[in-house]
Amino acid sequence: MARANAATELSDDALLAGLALGDEGCAVTFTRRYQRRVFGLALAMTGDQGTAEDVAQEALLRVWRHAPVFDPRRASVATWVLTITRNLAIDALRLRRATPIDPGDFADLGLVATTSGPEEAAMAADGMPGLRAALATLPVEQRRALVLAAVYGRTAAEIGQHEGIPVGTAKTRVRTAMMKVRAAMAERTFGLEDEQ
């Protein structure tokens, strides 16, 4: 049992290095590990199955192509992969002049998202424990502004236009939301440390 699927036991960094060297086994394992997250993000952002598949495939291909230059000191593999996906989804939306799905819907999706297994749950927990809970405590308008900025890459001016509010108000919402989430995360971290 423990010996099965040796490649699936590899860290993301090791898999990415295997990708860089053209190892097909690593490519299969990496794809299986990330395709649901990549496709999920693309679908959540574009709201269209076909566009989401195009985005997800292009994102994974770019990961393969650029694996040799990935720098683990700058970001985690998950962050890198999802950022590539996000940027491609933003490009796709702009190309189609499409309106992104409602940022409130995105946040709501995220708040109820479930992981598909213990491995994924562990990965998510390692990443940002409590982030969903912290986001859930925000007023709706702040959560929308934060999602527009963090996920859709919208500037304060664009958020203002999207939400029909002055730029200054948009800035305040984004900044306040960000600081609240960070504070909640810090509080959680300290709490966990106290428990140990």
Binding site: M1, R3, A4, N5, A6, A7, E9, L10, S11, D13, A14, L16, A17, G18, A20, L21, E24, G25, C26, A27, V28, T31, R32, Q35, R37, F39, G40, L41, E53, Q57, L60, L61, W64, P72, A78, T79, L82, T83, T85, R86, L109, T114, T115, A124, M128, L131, R132, L135, V147, A149, A150, V151, T155, A156, T172, V174, M178, M179, R182, M185
Partner: protein, 241 residues
């Protein structure tokens, strides 16, 4: 937790820090923040935390199973053999016969990790070098500069540890079938007798691969040990330079 009051310069940039972390700050704001961060450890720490939050928000989208045929289309575009056939031949069906094949794959992938990170670190894998192989087993699959030692738990081989020259030098290891420990710490013993912990990593079902930049030249490393949560030495590998 509160510590010293926040200086006025830091207070004025708090909002901009958030926008920089989100990647939506204007050029002027970004420049001001980056200039401030150069001399302010407090705000650098704050910025790192904000960036973590921004990164984490991307992970909030729910996982969704892609449409049927997604993998096949992806692999066709990439010019890779369709995954279904590979799975039949290799990974998924490996449960009953994966022993050496699995360990080899693990070792090759970890070697790939070594190569990629070493390139990033400017080690220069392509240059001629004199490898020092300390393992009784051949160091197949590792780049030429690797000094490879067998990781042993008692008399049992449970993986390999490879060190690479450079500044910093690097240490990589693969672990296979090392019992039930879910987390192990790597401790080095140097030739001058000093010991140092260089990090810890997770094992899954006794398997794992991990690497770390060394705080000392690799020639100073005599032994790498894996220590369990209770402090017991679970496995060790000895180098000879």
């Amino acid at each position: 937790m509160t510590g010293d009051p926040m200086p006025e310069a830091c207070r004025q940039l708090q909002g901009a820090l958030a926008e920089v972390a989100l990647g939506i700050a204007s050029g002027r704001e970004r420049a001001a923040v980056l200039e401030h961060l150069e001399s302010c450890a407090r705000c650098r720490s704050e910025e790192e935390q904000l960036s973590s939050v921004a990164d984490g928000l991307l992970g909030l989208a729910p996982e969704v199973e892609p449409p049927v045929g997604f993998e096949v289309r992806l692999f066709e575009r990439a010019g890779v053999r369709p995954p279904a056939r590979r799975l039949l031949q290799g990974w998924r069906g490996a449960g009953s016969r994966a022993g050496w094949r699995g360990a080899g794959s693990l070792r090759r992938a970890a070697a790939a990790a070594v190569l990629a990170v070493a390139v990033l670190a400017g080690v220069g894998i392509g240059r001629a070098a004199l490898p020092t192989t300390t393992s009784a087993r051949p160091a197949a699959g590792w780049p030429a500069q690797a000094a490879v030692a067998t990781l042993k738990a008692g008399s049992r081989d449970v993986g390999q540890v490879a060190s690479f020259p450079g500044n910093p030098a690097w240490l990589f290891m693969t672990v296979a079938d090392l019992g039930s420990a879910s987390r192990v710490e790597c401790r080095l013993t140097l030739h001058d007798g000093r010991t140092m912990a260089v990090g810890s990593f997770r094992l899954s079902g006794g398997y794992g691969a991990w690497g770390v930049a060394l705080p000392v030249p690799r020639s100073q490393v005599a032994t790498a040990k894996l220590v369990g949560p209770q402090g017991a030495v679970l496995a060790s590998a000895s180098f000879r330079f």
